[in-house]
């Protein structure tokens, strides 16, 4: 079972990864956007970490919904509503729970992704975070269906998301700010796909490690 503490560890890991990759994400956003994705995500997750203590004793649904709402009210840009929606929907899927199965966690991620797609109306191949989250969720589902451990499944998810992130490089952006560049968006890695891949890598590094099945 995945516990509340694992989720808290995941969020802390992601906050740290965003801090470390702030300039990298901003650099990616300079090439095809407006040079703020790193600062935006960093500001948002700094706020999330400040907020966590007040809900740390609550259920995981509340923790993730609070994370989402905090992102919505601190990030702004496209990233704020999209990541905010992601965590709010994931939280709704885990409402009332303090521990849950890998399958339930996968369902929460998939609910988050569905929320992102509903809000942002992007599908795969448009050079957005959807291009990291979609293969990430898919790889995790396949791994769990094939009976892999949570650690293996999350690792597969992170690896697939990272591949999806790299696959955005040759894409022509048709959603988000990068779409204004037209052909010139080709050849650059999408910042949002990159922050999404980081998020799944953190999941693998935290949930994956702790929850190794005995």
């Amino acid at each position: 079972m995945i516990t509340r503490d694992d989720i808290l560890a995941w969020l802390k890991c992601y906050r740290q990864a965003l801090g470390e990759n702030k300039d990298y994400l901003t650099r990616l956003d300079s090439a095809i956007g407006d040079a703020d994705h790193g600062a935006n995500m960093d500001r948002g997750f700094a706020a999330v970490l400040e907020k966590l203590p007040s809900v740390a004793e609550k259920d995981v649904g509340t923790i993730l919904k609070t994370t989402g709402m905090t992102l919505v009210s601190t990030v702004g840009g496209a990233g704020g509503p999209l990541y905010g929606t992601f965590f709010m929907r994931a939280g709704m899927a885990l409402d009332g729970k303090t521990e849950f199965t890998p399958q339930e966690f996968l369902a929460a991620l998939e609910a988050g992704l569905a929320g992102v797609q509903q809000r942002g109306k992007a599908t795969t191949g448009e050079k957005t975070m959807v291009d990291a989250l979609t293969p990430g969720c898919k790889a995790m589902r396949e791994a769990l269906e094939r009976g892999k451990s949570l650690a293996e499944a999350l690792d597969a998810a992170a690896a697939a998301a990272e591949q999806g992130m790299r696959d955005t490089i040759p894409m022509l952006a048709t959603k988000g700010r990068a779409s204004y560049l037209g052909e010139r968006s080709i050849g650059h890695q999408d910042p949002g796909a990159t922050s999404s891949a980081l998020m799944l890598r953190c999941a693998a590094n935290t949930l994956g490690r702790v929850q190794d099945p005995a």
């Binding site: 040079a35 919505v72 601190t74 990030v75 702004g76 840009g77 942002g120 988000g176 204004y180 037209g182």
Partner: protein
Amino acid sequence: MKKLINNPADVVKEELMGVALAHPDLVRVHFDPNYIVRVDAPIQGKVGVISGGGSGHEPMHGGFVGVGMLDAACPGAVFTSPTPDQMYEATKAVNGGAGVLHIVKNYTGDVLNFEMAAEMAMAEGIEVASVVIDDDVAVQDSLYTAGRRGVGTTVLAEKICGAAAEQGRSLQEVADLCRKVNGWGRSMGMALTSCTVPHAGKPTFDLPEDQMEIGIGIHGEPGRTRMPLKTADEITEMLALPIINDLPFKSGDTVIAMVNGMGGTPLIELYIVYRKLAEICKGHGITIARSLVGNYITSLEMAGCSITLLKADDDILKLWDAPVKTAGLRWGL
């Protein structure tokens, strides 16, 4: 990075404090969430008109809050759309019972955040209409993409819709007018230099001494094409002709013309551009009835300019001429 700032993280907060201190007769500034609101808001029975977007485009939008223009503006971080709670609180602060118009520039972030705010406000029973401005002819439009950016027409729409609201028109009327203005306005911009986002600390893009970017937006993003620097007259043509051909503006049309500086270009150059624009319009039989030349919708310290033409009928011209009293645009009061 050479800027008159203290700390990148405090830029917007300290700027808003400066705005509050400089214009106590015009606006109040609310912090956490941040918004700038007309000193006399809410005005009972008047439609509230609000806008918002990332900071770094000053005087837009905060400099357009006041009598005859915006009731409130929501500034996000630099080049980052504001968050829904800002628009939600601003909507409540300006609601005088006649509903609130949200003027939204077409960027994914702005659209999503305003959408959430409108949902929140409507859940509280406030009538909200949203109009998305998407006037940038540099961007190919398509059903399957994010569509065109909202740029210069936003300024004109805020003035005209603000005047209409001041006259007591209904939310439906003001929103319809805003859609009409958006439909009749077209813009295009170019950059001679990049700008530097305070957080990023270095220019968003590098532009060699002999190159320029054509078809830029207002967030320091690169344009559609990079090409060798040309003369002011050639550049003016490169911006004006796509605009004229897009609507298309036709012989006999009357327009409001704006030559807008991106922040780092001196006024003397903008008038040189205006001179050529006036010549081009004349050549097409287009009458410039009103004009604006200056920095109205900027990209921090970027050098460059944008041109906006708005087809204008009598109603639009009368609303344009109506009194306005804001830090950034003022006449008649």
